[in-house]
Point group: C2
Chain length 484, copies 2
């Protein structure tokens, strides 16, 4: 990132969103492509954003009874097969370890694609009495899925970082509460930390996590009109508990099968964040996840250099004392214009400009990213003032994303209308649906849109009485969208 | 952990340290054995200790300019070969991924045994100008080494958790400072967080990290008289930078080769911690890493139950408000004696007992783990009082380990004396050494002790003028010990 020529984003978010995204990710120092297709290197700025996402979520998990743990990254083939036996449709494409050192292994080991099959036997072992429940485990780790698709950093990579939670409960109510608690925490993460509105829903029956009773999801709309599955929380019923023998003695010493859940959020959340807020100047980050929240750029001529630099340095101390993550950009070999561009590219939410005028009037000029709104404020109380401006930046980002989302949920009551509406606008189209997967196919085949969710509430009346595709009685409302 | 019969540690630390260690690890809920030999499951209490180690170290890293990042867990075979070509003696036993999904891969991928060979090419790519240096990267991850040895949780496992730091600098001074900064942080971790004294030193030339200029180490003495390599920090000179082309343009636009370092600390630190402090009652944890620092056990009869429980609950609030990690054990179905045993097994540093007497006198009775020292203190200011007692517990643990270490460093000036001293006492034996690996062999062959370190300062006068083994001039002091 040392040459001037590299600073500018050359692609357009509106006209070439795929290329634009790839360019922002690389030029803003979030990730690089690894030499093996499908793998990326997460660079410091990208990892720092992920750490903030982790910290928020991990704190909420712990406040609500979750314990972190760590299970082996390898799963014996026979364990995966066991899951395959019980879960129809489970046939993950995985990376296989066949040799250790110079020896061939007796049994192949899968690099974990998800850890149900290695965690569940231990949950069974650790669960004896009703007093051992609820058991709430989580791990932050990387997983590998050998899907042969084009690499898109944080969206489509063979290895990705995530958390996976696995819990066991005495009954359905407990497990269902758990499922919803995690879904609400994912929603909160998007809204409060990432400044993104999301919709909560269920996956249709044919698109549930294999073996799950119910898969709930938070869906986020991207600016190109596609939906991103932003996190999923599964109520697994008793299917995994039965298969893996997760049982407990109740208060009468009688044996019962536990009810389990699992829930996960990956670094795809970070991809959705980048795609939602960033622009043709580069990365835009909500203050809660920005590694640097405020950058101070001093503007001086030779005769004002000392006083401006001293003033800027004092300001940095004040901001730091106020708990703001601040950087003083006092590089001599760069002019202010270059610095503005660089910090815009890197997604610093608030720029503080100080020159001789600010010094004289005991003030500071604040500039918001991304809209450039500028205000000159008093130096006194700069910590509180900066915090308020950061809140404003968050609110503006959220409002903008919310406005986009609200305009992009449309209704349709025929196959043609679904196709035409999504074809023309993208976004979500809701319609009556009979519940049959066959009625998704014509939409999928024609424009690669699918049912990304149905309402959480199973008793909610469908938006129309009839299925928009087959005309039979509608069972529920389907939300069609193209998706990542 | 639900049956009473499981609480007691049956093995003896003194007489069967290996079995005792395995029993403490399992019964105190730190780890379980995975179904594949060489792998373990880190249970919540174990992982919570690891998280506290991580948090301390990660905080210090960030304060001193280190940026976290994440590199792929797989390394193409050709990349590892490249390291093999430049680094004599580098032939890691690794796990090989040969298949992805149903396809055989064109090139085998190693599950990372350490990441120099995948990180260095990116450091080369990101380093152009002297302004890009120092570049300080770290990642927290798991690595796999396919060594066929008996599994010992946290000490010997095929997969283990660690951090690996990789840095590049313009010159030797910068890189050497870095090497020592990290070594000092490891020492600080042991002393201030884990209550363990360590010795700093260098590995002898023949036992350096392959390709390193200097390997520095912190060594900790275990109660069974063996040394543990507690963390290593390598000054790599320019060898990796030359091989991977990590060069930079200096202020005159001339090309220079960078100097690099790497440094790592694994969950073996946690193993050393468990082994050092724990006893025949179970786990002993220094307060800084204990997930629960204080447990409150209310002691009541039916007629005093309400007042005692209320008092205990208020006490818990006070302690929590004071920033103490406190647990109120108000289980009805367990008696105080059972609770004492369980919390001792689980390594809670401070127990607070409250019964009718304490309620009446507005007091609380504090009991230290491990020595059982008991003091009844005033309820007023209980937060500060508990914190002071936790500091005392830390100090006692440190003093005890320090006393052990000090008595276990002996001198010898002949082969027979080295053999006899280590054979009889274990611990460290320091002696004059000519610097030749051949003089280590007879000790190694006879009693499996080796030179675990030499002094950091290359100019330090050897403890004796002559090599204790061959009688030639001594170049330096060798510290012989058996080691993990």
């Amino acid at each position: 990132m040392s040459g001037e020529q590299e600073l500018g984003i050359t692609e357009s978010k509106e006209h070439s969103p795929g290329e634009w995204y790839a360019e922002v990710v690389q030029k803003a120092g979030l990730a690089d492509y690894a030499p093996m297709g499908g793998f990326i290197v997460t660079k410091p700025r990208g990892y720092a954003v992920w750490e903030r996402i982790q910290n928020h979520l991990d704190g909420w998990f712990k406040e609500t009874g979750v314990q972190n743990s760590y299970f082996p990254m390898f799963i014996p083939e026979s364990f995966l097969e066991r899951e395959k036996d019980i879960v129809e449709g489970f046939d993950p494409e995985v990376a296989w370890v066949t040799h250790g050192g110079h020896e061939e292994l007796e049994e192949r080991l899968a690099v974990r694609p998800t850890s149900e099959s290695i965690i569940a036997p231990f949950m069974a072992d650790w669960t004896r009495s009703h007093r051992d429940l609820p058991l709430r485990l989580n791990q932050w780790c990387s997983v590998v899925r050998w899907e042969a698709t084009e690499t898109k950093p944080f969206f489509r990579t063979k290895e990705f970082l995530w958390q996976e939670g696995h819990t066991a409960h005495t009954d359905e109510d407990g497990a269902w509460d758990e499922t919803m608690t995690r879904l609400e925490q994912y929603k909160r993460l998007y809204e409060e930390v990432m400044a993104m509105p999301v919709m909560e829903g269920r996956k249709p029956e044919h698109d549930k996590f294999p073996g799950a009773h119910t898969t709930t999801t938070v869906e986020a709309l991207m600016p190109d009109g596609k939906s991103v599955q932003g996190g999923t929380s599964h109520y697994l019923g008793t299917s995994f508990a039965e298969a893996f023998d997760i049982t407990y003695a109740d208060e009468n010493e009688e044996d019962n099968v536990a009810h389990t859940t699992s829930w996960g959020l990956s670094w795809r959340a970070m991809g959705a964040l980048i795609m939602t807020h960033s622009d043709d100047q580069g990365l835009v980050l909500p203050p809660a996840v920005a590694p640097t929240q405020v950058v101070i750029v001093p503007i001086w001529q030779e005769d004002t250099k000392d006083e401006v630099q001293e003033y800027a340095a004092d300001l940095a101390v004040d901001l730091e004392d106020a708990g703001v993550r601040v950087e003083l950009d006092d590089r001599d070999h760069r002019n202010p214009g270059f610095k503005y561009n660089e910090h815009e590219l890197n997604g610093v939410p608030l720029r503080v400009e100080v020159g001789p005028h600010e010094v004289e009037d005991d003030e500071a000029t604040l500039v918001h990213r991304p809209d450039g709104e500028t205000e000159t404020v008093s130096r006194e109380g700069i910590g509180d003032t900066a915090s308020e401006h950061l809140d404003t930046v968050h609110a503006k980002l959220y409002a903008s994303a919310e406005e986009t989302l609200e305009g992009e949920i449309r209704e349709a009551d025929s196959r043609e209308e679904i196709l035409g509406t999504i074809g023309q606008h993208g976004g979500y189209v809701k319609c009556g649906w009979c519940g049959d997967e066959d009625c998704e196919d014509p939409i999928k085949d024609a424009i690669a849109a699918e049912i990304v969710m149905v309402p959480l509430d199973r008793d909610e009346e469908p938006v129309h009485d009839e299925c928009a595709i087959c005309g039979d009685d509608a069972e529920e409302t389907a939300y069609f969208a193209k998706s990542y």
